[in-house]
Symmetry: C2
Subunit: 170 residues, 2 copies
DNA sequence: CAATGATGTTAATCCAGATTAACTTCCTTT
DNA sequence: AAAGGAAGTTAATCTGGATTAACATCATTG
């Protein structure tokens, strides 16, 4: 009996909702999802954009089984492989190599998050965008521009301005 | 034969230097350390402040054994328990529970980093400072104010202004 | 105890990026 | 093909926080 279940979601559907407990770790089989937080002013802040072969969840909610700070929503019709918290923990005990696999993924994600924090402080908006573009060219084409602006921590208007500057430049 | 070696560092000494490969994972037995990046303009950006019982390293450099993006430097005389990359990986194979222990630590660190990214985008400087103060009161007292400003992504002058505002307010 | 360096403050000026708002495409759906 | 909504653009104005610079305080160390 497999502990992993593939589940289909339509564009717009939520895999995790802010306030709920995140019960599953999610592996994207197909499609595209955004992880975001809604602040007190109702503004959306995207922390992650996930496409095929990415893991996504509200890890903080998942590991402590506490209410989520983040939403995970499908930007396209998507298929997601899901595994429940208890099942994954049990599998880690049974299969140490699986736990190793996850440890390594999370280490990389953490190292990337630290670099992102520094970049957000040290690079101006235009350079953050250029860096994003070269790092995730696949994502840029699939996701609306205003969401990329949110991921990069700037307004859609300002990203639009940057882009028209870049076109002028060359 | 223990694979973990305690090592003493004087205030100002570097445990990791930007450009070198980070060979050890470091557990702070006593003292206080900062992890920071120097950008092209020579500006320092602090990503982490570590005191007793914290782990610190340049994880990206450590896991890939590539040149470090970060420096780790002692802010006080410190004692650090160090374990070499190969030794720790070997221990993980021998002792699955140790690997579990590390996986969980890193999951928490990653979840915290994601929240920090959102806070940096959604909260103004004053609220980031207030949040920091309640989250890490111990650290605030041990570390010079201009380093806290750097950790929070603002200038020392602005943090000074915020603090004098807060004093006026009550 | 001078002197030097590290830390912190205050105030004036400046600017990257936010906000606002009006307009344009381009899809969808009917 | 009209109508409504999502996405993107442009330009004017505004502001949180940076920059600059002068000064204050306090530890160290010679």
């Amino acid at each position: 009996m497999s502990k992993v279940k593939a589940r289909k979601f339509l564009k717009g559907q939520f895999v995790v909702q802010q306030g709920d407990v995140c019960k599953t770790e999610n592996f994207v089989l197909s499609g595209c999802l955004k992880t975001f937080h809604i602040d007190h002013e109702g503004q959306e802040h995207i922390v992650m954009l996930a496409i095929e072969n990415w893991w996504t969840s509200d890890l903080g909610s998942y590991i402590n089984q506490t209410p989520a700070d983040f939403n995970v929503q499908c930007l396209e019709n998507s298929e997601v492989a899901q595994i429940l918290y208890e099942d994954l923990e049990r599998l880690f005990v049974e299969i140490p190599k699986l736990e190793r696999f996850f440890r390594i993924i999370i280490q990389k994600a953490f190292a990337a998050a630290q670099k992102r924090i520094v970049n957000n402080f040290s690079l101006p908006a235009k350079e953050r965008y250029l860096k994003f573009r070269e790092q995730y060219p696949q994502i840029e084409q699939r996701v609306p521009q205003y969401m990329i602006a949110s991921y990069l921590g700037m307004t859609k208007e300002f990203l639009s301005k940057i882009r028209s500057q870049l076109i002028e430049e060359q």
